[in-house]
């Protein structure tokens, strides 16, 4: 009896394990197919099913958009990276046959394309055709940031991203908009509540975690893997640009609240100063960009952007920051050439460098050079009459793009920390009397310049 029981138990267990085995197999297959989609028929002999699926989806997508005359271009970092390796070859033989599927078959979950908003209009037809071709699609819309800065305007929401999914591959179409300041902007990808969170693994998308700012790219029509597609003319600079493309929108809502508390100065003087500051900033940006020197809005100008999305009318100067590693000796002559004479130069490249240029009618351009340490960043100040040195400490920051007075410029991404370091927790309250030696929250005494160095480190013109 016991033996039979034991045998029965054994048999039963074996059976269960068998069932589990089968179940596991099924489940594994199911899981796999969900992840990678239905197997696609092999068309290109040398390619495995997976690889050619990607190629096929891209081909179908390109067919779809060309049938609707929508000009898109490839911005997929993975493929552009591959293309970049062979860029000379691809450029020289734009129609040359490619021996194998080298780019579009590369393993990945998405292929990313860009679309310029102004180059297309009606989308309804596109989606219908897409559905007929077997695509599933998702459209992500949101507020139009170009109207965000305006009091009480409410426009229609604009499309920011499209995702077209077919089998195991998805096409991510990023919509780029032109912004004031002559650059392109794409929005963040944010899902609304009713949206399918599992439509694609959103986390793996290359675009959409943050909004981004880009220069208008020059395009090149190339034929790769038997597909004709537009790519940025210089993929490597595009990829480089992409890695620093994060864009910060001005805090328009907070700025409006600020102006409710402290009504804006609309006197003629304020209007005039803003106009001059704006043109000075434009000139400075042009000069530094031509030199290839990266700069950001600092001190009062940064505060103006962050607090009120505008130039602070009583600030009386324009402040920029530059990392000392980006310093170039050409900076001074370039500004002089642009019609901005050097007003004073304090410090030296090794320590506390600061330049001041004279703009139109008393509006001054101050350029502070920032020195990076292990756990902080600082810039220096010098009092001309006493030779006293000051040091302004900031927590470490990275740079983001923003739009300011019709200009694409950098600001510290961690703007709040930056502004708070500089102006303290009361930065929201306007202060009209400001002493650069004592008012800043982060100022420290830093000794005195040795007298024999004065001629070099304190130059006033």
């Amino acid at each position: 009896m016991q033996k039979i029981n034991r045998n029965v138990v054994l048999a039963l267990l074996s059976l269960t394990s068998l069932v589990f085995l089968l179940f596991q197999l099924c489940y594994y297959k199911f899981y796999l197919s969900q992840k990678n989609g239905a197997a696609f028929s092999k068309v290109r002999g040398s390619q495995s099913g997976q690889d050619s699926t990607r190629w096929h989806v891209v081909r179908k997508f390109l067919g779809l958009i060309s049938s609707h005359n929508i000009p898109v271009y490839l911005i997929d970092p993975l493929i552009l990276g591959l293309i970049n390796k062979d860029i000379e070859q691809i450029r020289s033989s734009p129609d040359g046959p490619s021996p194998e599927c080298k780019y579009f078959c590369a393993p990945r979950d998405f292929t990313t394309f860009a679309l310029l908003d102004k180059t297309w209009k009606h989308e309804v037809g596109l989606f219908r055709t897409a559905e007929k071709m077997g695509f599933q699609w998702l459209k992500i819309i949101n507020k139009d940031p170009r109207l965000d800065g305006m009091d009480d305007l409410s426009g229609m929401e604009i499309p920011l991203h499209y995702i077209f999914k077919l089998a195991s591959h998805a096409i991510h179409l990023v919509v780029f908009y032109e912004r004031s300041g002559n650059f392109l902007w794409h929005g963040p990808l944010r899902l609304k509540q009713h949206m399918d969170r599992k439509f694609v693994p959103f986390r793996k998308l290359h675009f959409g975690r943050y909004p981004g700012a880009y220069e208008k790219p020059e395009l090149l029509l190339v034929s790769i893997d038997d597909l004709k597609v537009q790519i940025p003319k210089n993929p490597s600079s595009f990829l480089e640009e992409m890695s620093h493309s994060r864009f910060l929108e001005c805090r328009y809502r907070e700025a409006r609240a600020f102006f409710q508390l402290y009504p804006d100065d609309v006197s003629l003087d304020a209007v005039e100063f803003r106009k001059k500051a704006k043109s000075l900033l434009h000139l400075a940006a042009l000069t530094l960009n031509n030199l290839g020197v990266k700069f950001w809005l600092s001190s009062g100008t940064c505060l103006g952007w962050y607090r009120q999305c505008n130039v602070i009318p009583h600030s009386k100067d324009v402040d920029l920051g530059i990392f000392i590693r980006d310093y170039k000796a050409d900076i001074i002559p370039a500004f002089q050439k642009a019609g901005l004479p050097l007003k004073h130069k304090f410090g030296k490249v090794e320590d506390s460098l600061e330049l001041s240029f004279q703009g139109e009618d008393d509006v001054k351009l101050d350029i502070f050079f920032f020195y990076e340490e292990d756990d902080h960043i600082w810039n220096g100040g010098t009092q001309a009459k006493s030779g006293k040195k000051f040091k302004y400490l900031f927590p470490k920051f990275t740079l983001c793009w923003t739009e300011f007075v019709e200009l694409k410029v950098h600001v510290p991404c961690e703007t709040l920390q930056y502004v708070e370091a500089n102006y303290g927790p009361e930065w929201k309250v306007p202060v009209k009397t400001w002493d650069w030696k004592s008012s800043p929250f982060n100022v420290q005494d830093n000794g005195v310049w040795p007298i024999d160095e004065w001629d070099n480190v304190i130059q006033i013109y």
Binding site: L12, Q24, R197, K198
Partner: protein
């Protein structure tokens, strides 16, 4: 565990032999056998457990991955639960309608859809149109049938309402004085028993379906001329029909879907919602060759006059060379109906929360609209500014395309306008002719971005200043001596009768007889001669060939200009200094052109047409062209009438042109 495949259950007889063999073989190694058995059982158990765990794990991992993947991308407003309206399956609507001397109201299912108890306002017949399937208000109108012609407007409106709609009427104060027979008959045909006998200060309410049943009617006669009828309150029920019955069955296209959405919401747009052969909502006018304004944004400034906007957009979208993608309609206020009109045409619309009041509100709306336009189209160097009460000429864009390069190249230009203030039926003749004028006419014009961004926007009048934006733009501080280019025959037509500074009388006197170009593809002549210096040469040439009119005659008389065609005549009027317009104003008055302020002048010179002859007026001695006056001619002087009336009227209505 894949390799481990004992298969006892599947093949029983084999199992048995296998089992027996095993049993006998291992009989003498009982301990070993037992160990094996236990081992096998343990192994099996472990397998099962591991399996279960594996399945659960993969499940959870997959779930987490997907959950997580979207986390970063969640909208901030995620937790705002949208309140869902309960689906209204109700088939019956309770309608309450009240009519009295000082107050009217209409409530549908307890919701007040009309309430008017303002004094000195809203007199006449109030009409509300409801959708027969949903009960939504589709149109609300009031016709002051105490005044003349309003009954005609009502008839027009009622005829446009689709069959089957529910109509609600109620009278406030007085609605019968100018309610003519035709209108009464229309009301009668809707099923009203009382309408034909409606008389002085009667109160009346009526609810009926167009072309169908009557849901109720109440009436209170006025007992005497000096008193009003007693207030009446009508309570009735309306049976709703199914949605399918209330809609037309147009072919399912993108355009018709827009049409359907529109027609189920609003009423009073006539054939656009006809079930049979509805009027088109896409126009596809001919494109322009070499269109220089294809990429120029068009800002349409609108308020809450949806019928005007509808008419305006139709003409705009029919103009040759129009680019609908560049059009943005800016609506001052969160009005639904204008937005519906914008969506009907597939355009983009932006609503603007009203700031300030009256003129300042319009002015703030202009500022917001212009700023937004240049934000939305940062590449644009210009913007076309239109208003909702303008008809747009078929060659509007052709006119701009031919002239816009001047605005780009000639710094002395302020704007290009489609409107000639002095271009009336009897004073404009040549569609290919352009002028330079020192005034800014507005009413369809092109603004340079640099002018707006660098000069106008920073010092635009603030909300507390109750200024007209156009008057402000005309001030010398802004204009700085720059001029606008205008056509002889206007490319826009101002049809608005109701507006901030507009009324029927004013419109009839100053706008109705304005000439409007209807000829397509007009080739403009001498565009280059519009440049600053060229224009002077041109004027001197014109004056050189002009025949001096007989200054002894009365310039107001028709005989002042000979009965010729195609000639150039010149007359000289007295103009002591630059700002002396005494004679000009009198002349303008008798010529029946714009005389409320000075418009259309260029250095003391006005150009218009009389009897198909080009007619030049030179102010002497203020105008630099005075030198062309023969010494024998004495400039004509005209005095304002002795009464002070004229002087009072001018400032009062000077600002009246913009609405």
């Amino acid at each position: 565990m894949d390799e481990w495949k004992p298969n006892p259950a599947v093949k029983p007889h084999k199992k048995r032999s296998w089992y027996l063999a095993w049993k006998y073989k291992l009989m003498n190694q009982r301990a070993l056998r037992k160990l094996c058995q236990t081992g096998a059982v343990l192994f099996l158990l472990v397998t099962v457990i591991v399996n279960i765990k594996l399945i659960l794990d993969t499940r959870r991992a997959a779930y987490e991955e997907e959950e997580e993947s979207a986390q970063d991308y969640d909208d901030e407003m995620l937790n705002v639960e949208v309140p869902r309206h309960p689906v209204n399956n109700k088939k019956v609507l309770d309608v309450e309608v009240y009519s009295s001397r000082s107050k009217v109201y209409v409530a549908v299912d307890g919701t007040t859809v009309l309430e008017d108890e303002a004094r000195e306002q809203g007199r006449g017949i109030h009409v509300i149109v409801l959708n027969q399937a949903t009960g939504h208000v589709m149109a609300k109108r009031v016709f002051d049938t105490y005044s003349p012609h309003e009954d005609e407007a009502m008839v027009l409106f009622l005829n446009m309402v689709a069959r089957g709609r529910i109509l609600i009427f109620t009278i406030k104060d007085e609605g019968s004085f100018h309610l003519k027979e035709t209108a009464k008959n229309v009301l009668k045909s809707l099923g009203s028993q009382v309408a034909p006998f409606l008389s002085w200060r009667d109160m009346w309410t009526f609810v009926g379906k167009k072309g169908g049943e009557v849901y109720g009617e109440k009436h209170a006669k006025s007992p005497a001329l000096s008193t009003w009828g007693d207030p009446v309150l009508l309570k009735t029920e309306v049976h709703l029909t199914s949605v399918e019955d209330a809609e037309c069955h147009w072919p399912d296209t993108e355009l018709n879907r827009r049409r359907k959405r529109f027609c189920s919401k609003v009423e009073g747009y006539g054939s656009v919602c006809s079930c049979k052969d509805p009027t088109p909502i896409e126009f596809n006018p001919d494109p322009l060759k070499d269109n220089k304004v294809f990429d120029v944004p068009v800002a349409v400034i609108a308020g809450n006059r949806p019928n005007y906007l509808y008419r305006m957009l139709r003409s705009l979208l029919s103009a040759q060379g129009v680019n609908p993608q560049m059009i943005t309609v800016f609506i001052d206020g969160y009005y639904e109906e204008p937005m519906d009109v914008v969506e009907l045409f597939g355009l983009s619309g932006i609503q603007h929360t009203p700031i300030s009041i009256k003129n300042a509100r319009v002015s703030q709306h202009y500022k917001a609209s212009l700023t937004a336009t240049f934000n939305l189209f940062p590449d644009a160097k210009f913007a076309v500014v239109l208003e909702e009460d303008l008809d747009i000429s078929v060659d509007f864009f052709s006119f701009l395309s031919q002239s816009i390069h001047l605005l780009e190249e000639d710094e002395s230009l302020y704007c290009i306008s489609a409107w000639n203030d002095q271009g009336y039926e009897h004073t404009a003749e040549d569609p290919s002719l352009l002028y330079r004028v020192e005034t800014m006419p507005g009413l369809g014009w092109v603004l340079r971005k640099s002018l707006y961004k660098d000069e106008l926007e920073p010092k635009w009048p603030t909300p507390e200043k109750l200024w007209d934006w156009d008057m402000w733009m005309r001030m010398p501080e802004q204009r700085k001596g720059r001029e606008c280019i205008i056509p002889d025959i206007s490319r826009s037509y101002h049809f608005g009768i109701v507006g901030l500074n507009m009324n029927g009388y004013f419109h009839e006197a100053y706008f109705k007889k304005h000439k409007f170009n209807t000829v397509p593809n007009v080739q403009l002549k001498n565009v280059e001669s519009l440049r600053k210096d060229n224009y002077e040469t041109e004027i001197h040439r014109l004056l050189g060939e002009a025949e001096v009119l007989d200054h002894s005659k009365n310039p107001c008389e028709d005989s002042f200009v000979p009965d010729t065609e195609g000639k150039v005549y010149v007359m000289f009027i007295r103009m002591e200094q630059e700002a002396d317009f005494t004679t000009w104003t009198q002349l303008a008055k008798c010529l029946h052109i714009w005389d409320l302020d000075v418009r259309g002048n260029h250095k003391g010179l006005w150009r218009l047409f009389r009897k198909k002859n080009h007619f030049l007026v030179v102010g002497v001695p203020a105008s630099p062209y005075s030198s062309k006056k023969p010494s024998s001619v004495t400039p004509i002087f005209m005095e304002p009438p002795a009464k002070e009336e004229g002087a009072v009227a001018v400032p009062a209505v000077a600002a009246a042109e913009q609405t």
